[in-house]
Symmetry: C2
């Protein structure tokens, strides 16, 4: 039986064209892009084609503003630790939100141990931060604001442009973890007024373990990986050329097809949201439907565990997730959902549905039938549910 | 005309079996190894097969001691910065040598700015450090010794086992940058007594941009890339699964064929060294022939620039390098060669010849003919050479 992947936030399949260029790269025995002989030059040309595609995707002006990394996590660590350490002489205060990815949270925690002070802002019950709160949080010691573009558990999009106008006016560096947005929704680093922007290739159907960091020209930042002079001396280490070539092609396709993809993905979302009441009761929608990615929905099912639902859906060959795959193994309730004001029990009843351009309306329908059945079975077993007159 | 690659230190071609598993991985639409559903489990299984092959290659006892990285540079940065920062409460002194790769040098330079003191030991004129010097350099404040296994410009191998016995006895952490050795010569982390060992996949005919760090169980070290709980919480970020699968296969082959490969590579080296006097005069061999990798030779040609020789050889479709590809663009003479006591002029006349299992004896002969001709042309043009009665 074919697996229905409604866990695109953990893994998007590679586009056929991406597979093709990666396989061609594998078969081409490309040399080292930093070597100065002919063989090196051919490798360097392919690297720069990928860089051009990625540059265009995020709206960067200069090729040198794009640094290839081993994925979103490296990009976030590089941006936050690199900018903080390089600007320590100006101040030690950083502003962020309560719903960031663990790459941001843990990078900031590390910096806290180095004498940095972090202000973490709350979000409203729809999951959005108020730009006024950002403005108020910035002091004369603030050197960096780091706020994600869209959330990896809910898909809710933050008012990055409004925040960027504030940080620009206050002359504070602004980093946005846009790993779940780049290649999915239009991103323009100048329009958003960001100085640093992290992204990963898999979210737009490129390979895992490849990503990039946009570094606005003139931004003071230390490298995270130091060694050779690769990537304009901003990131040492010979590049993962095969992966980067794949990301370049994925970026080209994502930009070309963004409107078509987006409207298709949104149609699946509309169908899913409209159909939910026919299949489920007593659920919460944790995604801000007005401001969110077109391919993701986060719901909480009352009285049951999301983990159990996920496993039952897996039995029906439907993949969903309960939280970030990066947090697998952690038993704690999602900090994102707790920040929205959910109770611990409701947060534990969460599943994240994330579809892609390879899904059909029928996939959504199968999911709905399966989750309705799973929820019924689990609620029948749940002591919480039996004691609750509101459940059936 | 076929290119003769005598610049394997910059890029080894992928083994056919490595290409095959990578292409299969691309076509398999593997999910995220951290996902808990069936699709995630299949990806996780492939990841662990690769880990087992790499574990065996370096002689590690436990799978959890292998952390996958984006290559040698990340591994080195992780080892040095991670171990130093995690052991700061014990001391602030680090011992290294004058001939390390820039990943080590620049990581240590960064730590110097954070209050760490670095003792950098000289090497003898054959390029080797004296273990007694290491013993003498260790103080009660020493928390880390970082010494490379083999040098990336000369191929000279250090007495790591002897140094490991000292660091073990003195209870100081020992990191070895073994990027150019792992998969080429036998490496056993227990025999060498290292606590941290960096390696990269391309040196053993796996893809670029993939590598690993051996972290001995119980070693106190911070992650460099922080975020998710991947890699037993030692390195956040979804893994570059396609690349890692390639590295796993390359590791399996490297271990199985090590003796055969090594004896073949050494036969090419013996042939090259024995033939040099028939083609060239007034050259220096900068590689320690007794203690070095079987596939690399570093020579300096008097009165001329290595860069010019490299470009002329490129015209004959023969790729060599003048120094580490990581240092391309830097105009300075190699710090490695200056540490051997070479004059600035001799260091500038250096070329690095690094062959592989895909080279033949005829490739070496073509190289010899081409370099003899290039050297003659360049010396005829060189004012230094004309003024020197020793040149012809």
């Amino acid at each position: 039986m074919k697996l229905i992947n409604l866990d695109h936030i953990s893994a998007c399949p590679l586009m056929p064209e991406v597979k093709e260029v990666m396989i061609d790269a594998i078969n081409s025995d490309l040399h080292n892009p930093s070597s100065q002989h002919k063989a090196g030059e051919e490798a360097a040309e392919r690297l720069e084609i990928a860089r051009e595609n990625v540059r265009t995707l995020v709206g960067a002006k200069d090729l040198k503003e794009i640094v290839f990394t081993s994925g979103g996590t490296e990009s976030v660590n590089h941006a936050i630790k690199g900018a903080a350490m390089a600007n320590r002489n100006k101040g030690n205060h950083i502003v962020t939100t309560n719903i960031e990815h663990n790459a941001v949270i843990r990078s900031l925690k590390r910096l806290s141990g180095e004498g940095f002070k972090v202000t973490s802002l709350p979000v409203d019950e729809t999951g959005r931060v108020n730009p006024d709160d950002v403005a108020k949080a910035i002091t004369e010691k603030t050197i960096l604001v780091s706020i994600m573009h869209s959330n990896n558990e809910t898909g809710t999009i933050q008012p990055i442009k409004e925040i960027g106008a504030i940080t620009r006016q206050k002359k504070v560096l602004f980093h946005s973890d846009a790993v779940d947005s780049v290649g999915v929704v239009p991103i323009d680093v100048d329009d958003l007024n960001v100085d640093l922007l992290s992204f990963g290739s898999n979210r737009f159907y490129g390979p895992h373990g490849v990503g990039g960091l946009y570094i606005r020209k003139g931004t003071r930042i230390f490298p995270l990986l130091e060694g050779g002079v690769q990537e304009h001396n901003k990131r040492g280490g010979t590049e993962n050329l095969i992966g980067i070539i794949g990301m370049g092609k994925a970026a080209e396709l994502a930009l070309k097809d963004m409107a078509t993809r987006s409207s298709y993905l949104q149609s699946l979302k509309d169908h899913l949201v409209a159909s939910l009441p026919d299949y489920l009761d007593e659920y919460l929608i944790n995604t801000n439907l007005e401001h969110s990615l077109p391919e993701m929905l986060n719901i909480s099912l009352k009285y049951i565990e999301g983990e159990s639902v996920m496993l039952m859906l897996d039995g029906d060959d439907i993949a969903v997730s309960t939280k970030s795959a990066c947090a697998t193994g952690s038993l704690r309730a999602s900090h994102v959902l707790m920040s929205l004001g959910l109770s611990h029990a409701d947060a534990q009843g969460t599943i994240v549905i994330s579809w892609g351009i390879d899904n059909s309306k029928e996939d959504i329908d199968q999911f709905l039938a399966s989750i309705a059945e799973s929820t019924k079975v689990l609620r029948d077993m749940s002591p919480l549910s039996r004691d609750n007159p509101g459940s059936d």
